[in-house]
Symmetry: C2
Subunit: 237 residues, 2 copies
Amino acid sequence: MAAPQPKIKLYELALGNGRSASPFVWRIRYALAHKGLAFDSVPLGFREIPGEFAGRFKTVPVIECGDTMMAESWDIAEYLDRAYPDNRPLFSSPAELAMVRLTDQWFMSEVMRKLFRIYILDVHDAAHPSDQPYFRESREKGLRGRTLEDFTADRLTRLPALREALAPLRAHLATFPFLGGAEPNFADYIVLGGFIWAASVATVPPLQADDALRPYLERGFDLYGGLARDPRMRPLY
Amino acid sequence: MAAPQPKIKLYELALGNGRSASPFVWRIRYALAHKGLAFDSVPLGFREIPGEFAGRFKTVPVIECGDTMMAESWDIAEYLDRAYPDNRPLFSSPAELAMVRLTDQWFMSEVMRKLFRIYILDVHDAAHPSDQPYFRESREKGLRGRTLEDFTADRLTRLPALREALAPLRAHLATFPFLGGAEPNFADYIVLGGFIWAASVATVPPLQADDALRPYLERGFDLYGGLARDPRMRPLY
């Protein structure tokens, strides 16, 4: 009989209210649920992340599983299929994996970039108060001296382009219940992770009340016993 | 021993120079090569398509295989995997198929729509002279009376947005030789079909000479013994 696998530890980003809110961590939360793997959570604030791993990792998710420790959501996802081959696979074939990678490239460049642009001040405000000065300083450096307030002042004008960028998802979901088809796959977890992150911070809903994506997102939040459900989530529509 | 399968007939759109030029037909040309299936070509002009099938089909590709006759590239692709299960599959799993469908939705709405906008007059000019009045009349109806010339007068200003829309492909192909990963899949045939169509008509190249997509497209045109190679192709870069 094989030795029991050590319990997985998942290092996550926590907001001021304790909510796990990294879109990349949420991919892995869903991936672990998809594979039926339990884990212990280690919540970290923005400031704690760089120090926690003695410089080895600068971002979460990080998973620790016995002697194995790694960052980067894609490396973790591929590792989980290798390390737990008897559990439900995340990827049915190398071709599915490649297609999900392409979907991720599209979603990051066409959707997540727009979401970050709209919600960066809301992330600051939702961070733990002791994280806020660090968050502001590190993010405003990338804005060449503009404040988060100035950078997001016109954010309502950016909502139509965001909604339009989601058109391929709406068209696909007119035919399939999930991006992965009849069953959710890692592409669903990528998209759901993005919207869960938005719902953790948004002070203005990204979508209109009648957006055709709404039933899909609700279906996704219900997966795995309502994994994403949380009274602290803010309205997406 | 099973009876030999009847030879497949592929009804295609032919330009004035005889070149097959529908992006949807090219998907199926690649799909047939992928599965190692020979076919006889039936080239049709724009005007001939509606009449050829006595109203049953209004668009090509149409394939005929014994008693089976069908249109729509996706229906055909799925049929080919069902009808020829011993040949190399187009789709390794339902999840890969769903992901390729999503890629198609993205490519149609974000890339092909822009290509059609830029090249619609070039398509007219490349059509057989006897097809041109029909093509112009049917297409200008959708432009609310604008001429094809007027509609495309500003087309050079639309090239930057087209090139930018291809960013997810470039990012993906920095890691993988094909969209499908190590081997091409139907997503590659969708994208290659779009560019082969553009190369059949383009009087201005859609891409810059140093576009990172160039080696990928050349690799794709070389597939299956240079299936897409044709001296009548016009420069894409």
